[in-house]
Amino acid sequence: MALMAGTRHVIEYNALIYRRIWRGSIAVSFFTPLFFLAAMGIGLGGLVNRASGGVNGVPYLDFLAPGLIAAACMQTAAIEAMYPILAKIMWDKTYDAVLATPVTIPDVIRGEIVWITIRMFIVATMFWIVMYAFGIGHSAEALLAIPASIITGLAFATPIMAFTATRRNDSGFAAINRFVIIPLYLLGGTFFPIAKLPLALQVLAWATPLSHGVALTRSLVLGNVTAPEAALHALVPLAYFAGGLLIVRALLIKRLAK
């Protein structure tokens, strides 16, 4: 039980900070999907539907919306696993203070992961509500889009935390953002089917967790999910998460344990 108490304190710390900025954060989480679905889904989607009759047999908006939820969780997890974590390791030295108490490094890791999950839950839920208002995903199954996109984000949370644990300054974060997150966002199956990419990039895309997370979320919302496919699409992101967890554990112990 003492173990869980340590984790809880780390979560509580993050929640107390978030209490000061939640208004802006929720507003962004609401307006971003609203603007994106209106512009890309309806505005640009109109051009797509007229030219190609939609994508994979559904209107473009229906194709886009679930993919964007998964991608939004990826972005949230990536940001939360970079700057705030490095600040606590190095700039504010929060972890040095934390570890002077009975809270342990595994507590810290668990607490941060739960906190990132909570942040993604907020983002995904706001997105889901906006999507519902646009008339998409009116089934009980579609609610599973929220956990599916959280799994997608978790696949990025632990590997990026591991990267953060090796950093001495923040200049690597811009590189991760521009060479990993944005390419995946734009080319990884969210805006158009991966089959439209050149073959080499298709192989690369299917090796990343985003494409699987997007496929899983999309099939749940569109109601064409099959069990074996869903299992594969969930396993790939979870494998990234588990691998990242092992590495971040080793690296944080190396960096923080004195």
Binding site: M40, L47, V48, R50, A51, I182, L186, F192, K196
Partner: protein, 267 residues
């Protein structure tokens, strides 16, 4: 015992701005990878949205009976957007940090460099940075066959400079009113709809007339309109309206920023 005080000098035309620019060049010497990587973002958008998603879209009408491929439609909008984003980022977040935390300007104005020089220098620096990105992007566009004529490509770099200037001036002016980091979220909330709805990804003819008129008076729309006219070769007098609009916006921004900075720094 006499107290050294700084006599307020009358406002003057900034002539020593290049010192401020030099300071920024020096400060970024070790962080050039951050600047370089900024170039990839619009290129990725061009590949993903312009070509990837564009493969699902037919030609887009640009008015007057003309139509262009989707990549050709989107590319100039991405160029204008990237000029805006670069200028806004530099003139809000970075400038706020210098103003509020690094106290850079407190040090600067102890030298013969004045407040006007510093403000103008900040804007020039943001414009230079934007210029590097625009040239890179135009080269990519040309290589992909998305520019109708060479002079259109060359002029579009100048147009991107003008967009960068207007938004850098606007961003600097707005930042002088900011009190905390959370205020930057408001900037993001304004940038995002401009990015999405300014005829960037689809023509504004999909909107009802009243909304079209509204979009037409927003700054990014004027920038997109200007660059698109130049790169697609559909040049008409309307482009002069864009230029005039952006020049006036930039001048107003510089004026407001100078007045505000004087009030803040020369106490």
């Amino acid at each position: 015992m006499s107290v050294l005080t700084r006599r307020p000098t009358p406002m003057r035309v900034p002539t020593r701005s290049m010192h401020m620019v030099e300071r920024n060049v020096m400060a970024y010497r070790h962080n050039w990878i951050v600047i370089l990587s900024g170039f990839f973002e619009p290129v990725l958008y061009l590949l993903g949205i312009g070509f990837g998603l564009g493969s699902l879209v037919l030609a887009v009408s640009t008015g007057g009976g003309h139509s262009v491929s989707y990549a050709m439609f989107v590319a100039p909008a991405l160029m204008a957007t990237s000029a805006m984003n670069g200028a806004v980022y530099e003139s809000t977040s970075n400038f706020f940090y210098k103003l509020r935390y690094a106290k850079t300007f407190e040090a600067v104005i102890q030298t013969p460099v004045g407040v006007e020089d510093a403000a103008m220098g900040e804007v020039i620096w943001a414009v230079i940075r934007g210029c590097l990105y625009s040239i890179g992007f135009v080269v990519i566009m040309e290589a992909l066959g998305l520019i109708a004529s060479p002079w259109g490509g060359a002029l579009s770099v100048l147009a991107a400079l003008l967009i960068g200037f207007a938004f850098a001036a606007l961003g600097t002016a707005i930042t002088t009113f900011m009190r905390q980091w959370q205020d930057h979220e408001i900037v993001q909330l304004a940038l995002q709809p401009m990015f999405l709805f300014s005829a960037t990804f689809f023509p504004i003819t999909v909107y009802p007339p009243i909304l079209q008129a509204f979009v037409e008076v927003t700054p990014l729309y004027r920038g997109v309109h200007l660059i698109r006219g130049l790169t697609t070769g559909q040049v008409d007098a309307g482009l002069l309206v864009d230029v005039l609009y952006l020049v006036l916006l930039g001048a107003a921004g510089v004026a407001v920023a100078s007045v505000r900075l004087r009030r803040r720094l020369l106490k």
